[in-house]
């Protein structure tokens, strides 16, 4: 541990946020800027018969109106991941148009955009656009979408499947093992659809500079370089070096701001057409209708056990909604980010998962905090707890019996799963032991028995999860269908005075990179944190990057920075050796200076930096300057894991669930800033609790959304949740320089099944074995009646 690594250093970004001086996209105002408003479809599936813009064109302040019949109608946004059918057929990839032309495929799809002098006038004029629709029957449920009679989202393929994919052992082998298993536990449920709801709605400003022939796109994105690449090379065909994408402060993402949205490309196109900047900021209603949603898997699963409770086989079939089109990473979510985690933390010898991914008349589904891993964890942790009840075993005991034994990934090899991945390091029983200790498990069980006698419904739920972060290496993900690399770029520029600018291709939208990255750079260079600035979010400043998602920033982006820091120190040592008239091997670097071992002769980092830029007395043949950029492509994913435990009381009269305690013991590898890691876990846990208890996007059969505002979409409020009790174990990642694994999604991955397990536990003596999420008071009460 250095001066900063491992310390709860307070965040440097907070000063601006707390003073109201953050720079979110909607805060930016450009000279001559216009405002855009959309005309969106009130139907989920319809033919567009006619669009009449004549009245709207006459309205005050209108600058331009575009529909799919205009030039922009020729463009569509691409998908970034190709998952083919298991029989080898190519994934079905529809055009995702910037504006719908003759067909509407989801509620809220844009049919026209009005650009006006002010937002008020744009809204007024948008109301005057007359669209004639012929409404058509819709399908919103992914399983129903595969029925032969289902309305087709895209007619050209004859059915709604985007792909049909499988992973794991041979299906017949798994089926045979289940047939001869001592006990089989079965589950059928829907891992329902949720809306990410970052508090900052999406916002974009496109600005075309006619003199320079350059575009600037200000966008609330998690990955500016990826947006630039997709926008230039795959959508508009404009030169990448003429486009600057800027993403300053972003008010939360949770996955929903990874993707390249149609509005980004459309505004970019329009700014050149009108020769003026154009802004669009989503309102919350539009956000519900157009931000990519998460989850939405219909699941049927069977897990077989031997008489001792050891898992012998696991077979699952899922229907996973894609929505009306394929969003940027959508195909990867229910496949390579989901099926590959079906080993869980258990030694299951035979696993098979089949995923059918249908198009539905809904907004697209893509990665949402955890992306595929929460869905895998929910299944594994619910089904093993259900099995424990059926086999009259304790839910902790059945887990201990099935855990993969501890391995550090250095002396003991990584664990090869049945579903392609090799885990890096793990100690799964360690986190469960600690979690149970934090709860006081045995005492709780006594309390529960007593409470039941008094008519109180108390329950405890355990979840022991594993997940995969920092998805890599590029060549492997490429072979799995990724159309991008998943490396990261870290650039360290030492200024002549020894002050350091670090440029990272990751993006912070709440994670605190400006603080954490400065912490480890300060320690590695032995200089004050104040001498280090972390720059991100501007493609003109940062050479390249892949952005922030999948809890990758520290494990991948941090490692890239470390590589550049090492190059700085390596070159610095050459300069120091020259100045100190010593051999490089006789130098040691500590506390910001090179010292000749065993002497008091030294030179500071600042002096070496100055020498690098004023190279008068300088090593022969060495280039001036101290400025290095590195690409880091990890050798493997990282695999955080942990135990989450929920304690609930269910109101017997109303079915309302009171979450009384939540315990999270996580292992995210080495920890750079415990305060920030705890914050990530707490926030993730509450999002996962939200899915378990409150949140649900509901479309009716015609494709109307009945939960499209905060009046109907329930998210956790401060008084819905208790303090989150956190602790951790530390099992370092063996394959990256900081030994870190990632903490951004763990909370949301482990927590959901813990809560539902607890609710089912509270009601188990009444014969309740499962409840569909979210476990609302109504659902719980109805389960109690049956």
């Amino acid at each position: 541990m250095g001066n900063f690594i491992g310390k709860s250093v307070k965040r440097r970004e907070d000063a601006r946020f707390l003073r109201g001086a953050g720079r979110y996209t909607d805060d930016i105002k450009l000279p001559k800027m216009t405002q855009a408003a959309f005309v969106r479809s009130p139907y989920a599936h319809a033919k567009v018969l006619n669009i009449d813009i004549s009245e709207a064109q006459k309205a005050d302040g209108v600058v331009a109106i575009y529909t799919g019949q205009d030039g922009c109608g020729a463009y569509g946004v691409p998908c970034g991941w190709q998952v083919n059918f298991k029989n080898g057929d190519t994934m079905r990839e529809p055009v995702h148009p910037l504006l719908a032309k003759d067909k509407i495929r989801h509620l809220g799809e844009a049919v026209a955009i009005v650009v006006a002098e002010t937002l008020e006038l744009a809204r007024d004029a948008a109301e005057l656009v007359e669209v004639d629709y012929e409404e058509l029957p819709a399908v919103t449920d992914p399983k129903k979408a595969m029925e032969p009679s289902a309305p087709l989202v895209h007619e050209e393929w004859g059915d709604n499947a985007a792909f049909d994919w499988c992973i794991g052992n041979d299906r017949t082998e798994v089926e045979a093992a289940l047939a001869s298993a001592h006990h089989v536990t079965e589950m059928e449920y829907r891992n329902h659809r949720v809306a990410p709801n970052a508090m900052e709605p999406r916002s974009y400003i496109a600005d075309y500079d006619i003199n320079a022939g350059k575009w600037t796109l200000y966008t609330s994105t998690q990955n500016p370089h990826l947006i630039r690449l997709l926008l230039c090379a795959f959508v508009l065909g404009i030169p990448e070096h003429k486009v600057r994408v800027v993403s300053y402060d972003v008010g939360g993402g949770f996955g929903s701001k990874i993707y390249h949205y149609t509005e980004e490309a459309l505004l970019t196109w329009i700014s050149k057409e009108i020769g003026r900047p154009v802004k669009w900021t989503s309102d919350r209603s539009e956000a519900f209708l157009t931000d990519a949603h998460g989850r939405d898997h219909v699941v049927h699963s069977k897990m077989g056990f031997d008489k001792d409770g050891k898992i012998v086989a696991h077979l699952t079939d899922e229907y996973c909604a894609m929505g009306a089109y394929l969003s940027t990473f959508a195909p990867a979510v229910p496949t390579y980010l989901h099926g590959t985690l079906f080993q869980g933390v258990y030694t299951t010898p035979l696993i098979h998962l089949n995923v059918v991914a249908p198009f539905t008349h809904t907004v697209v589904v893509d990665a949402y905090r955890g992306a595929g891993r929460p869905e895998a964890t929910y299944l594994l942790e619910r089904i093993i707890s259900k099995a424990a009840k059926e086999m009259k075993m304790d839910p902790a005991d059945i887990r201990f019996k099935n855990f993969i034994p501890p391995f550090d990934g250095i002396d003991e090899p990584g664990y090869q799963t049945q579903v392609a991945l090799q885990y890096d390091s793990g100690n799964y029983e360690g986190v469960l032991k600690r979690g149970l200790e934090m709860l006081g498990y045995e005492d709780f069980r006594k309390e529960q028995t007593k409470a039941r006698k008094n008519g109180k419904l108390l329950g405890v739920g355990i979840s022991t999860y594993i997940e995969g972060c920092g998805i890599a290496p590029s060549a492997v993900v490429g072979s799995l269908g990724a159309r991008a690399g998943l490396f990261e770029v870290g650039h360290v520029r030492v200024q002549p005075t020894g002050k350091v600018q670090v440029f990272t291709g990751t993006h912070s939208h709440g994670q605190g990179h400006e603080t954490v990255f400065a912490q480890f750079v300060a320690d590695k260079l032995g200089i004050p944190m104040d001498d280090i600035e972390i720059e991100h979010g501007d493609t003109d400043q940062v050479a390249f990057g892949m952005g922030t998602y999948g809890s990758r920033s520290l494990a991948v982006g941090g490692s890239a920075i470390i590589k550049s820091v090492e190059k700085v120190l390596e070159k610095g040592a050459k300069i120091a050796a020259h100045k100190l008239e010593a051999a490089e091997k006789d130098l040691e670097y500590a506390e910001g200076k090179w010292t000749v071992k065993g002497t008091d002769k030294s030179i500071s980092f600042g002096d070496v930096s100055l020498t690098a830029y004023v190279p008068h007395d300088y090593p022969e043949g060495l280039e001036p300057g101290l400025d290095f950029s590195s690409f880091y492509d990890p050798s493997n994913f990282t695999y955080p894991f942990g135990t989450h435990i929920a304690v609930v009381e269910v109101d017997k009269d109303t079915g309302k669930v009171d979450l009384q305690r939540f315990i999270a013991c996580d292992d995210v590898g080495n920890v750079m800033n415990p305060m920030i890691v705890d914050g990530q876990i707490q926030g993730g846990v509450v999002q996962g609790v939200g899915q378990a208890l409150l949140e649900e996007v509901v479309y009716d059969d015609s494709g109307q959304m009945i939960t499209g505002s905060y009046m109907d979409y329930a998210m956790p409020r401060a008084d819905d949740v208790p303090m989150i009790e956190t602790d951790r174990t530390v099992t370092p990642c063996p394959h990256n320089p900081l030994g870190v694994k990632g903490a951004g999604e763990a909370g949301a991955i482990g927590s959901t099944p813990a809560v539902v397990n607890a609710v089912v536990d509270a009601l188990s003596h009444l014969g309740v074995t499962d409840i569909q999420m979210p476990v609302t008071p109504q659902r719980v009460w109805k389960a109690m009646q049956n």
Binding site: D249, G251, G252, Q511
Partner: protein, 154 residues
């Protein structure tokens, strides 16, 4: 319509459309972009400011309704370099992550602590029921307000 009001201690007069919401006025006319719009229909609390000392959601107030009133936004909380104890407590306790809900949380905390200088955890949570945070899980926001209360009472 002509309105005159005091914002963060300074008087302002502007001619505005009646349909302009107060938050729109603050952000677009006054360039005070620290007050955020999260839902625009009083559901999320990101736009919370104080009006004559009381926390209100500025998305659900017309600017004309604030004529003659005294408004405090997040930009008016600090005393020069010196942050307000509530702001300090949020920083100290990691009470914010992406920062978007933060101004609304701070301004709501002003009202909570004004009417109840020694709130319990439950009272703080209840007081925050009109404000969504999607990042922190509220844990550290509650801690921040607890610490701010101690600070303000000392």
């Amino acid at each position: 319509m002509q309105i005159s009001l005091t914002i963060n201690g300074k008087s302002h007069s502007n001619d505005i459309e009646p349909r302009m919401s107060l938050v729109h006025y603050l952000r677009e006319v006054m360039d005070l972009t620290g007050t955020h719009v999260g839902c625009d229909t009083s559901g999320c609390g990101a736009c919370t400011i104080t009006l004559d000392g009381n926390a209100v959601k500025s998305c659900t107030l017309l600017a004309v309704q604030a004529d003659g009133c005294e408004i405090m936004t997040i930009e008016g909380m600090a005393n020069g370099e010196q942050m307000h104890p509530i702001q300090e407590a949020f920083k100290e306790n990691h009470g914010l992550q992406c920062g978007f809900c933060t101004p609304g949380m701070v301004m709501t905390a002003v009202d909570i602590l004004k009417s109840n200088p020694n709130p319990t955890e439950e009272e703080i949570r209840h007081g925050l029921e009109g404000n969504f945070c999607r990042c922190t899980g509220y844990h550290n926001i509650v801690k921040s307000i607890q610490q701010a209360a101690e600070q303000l009472n000392s």
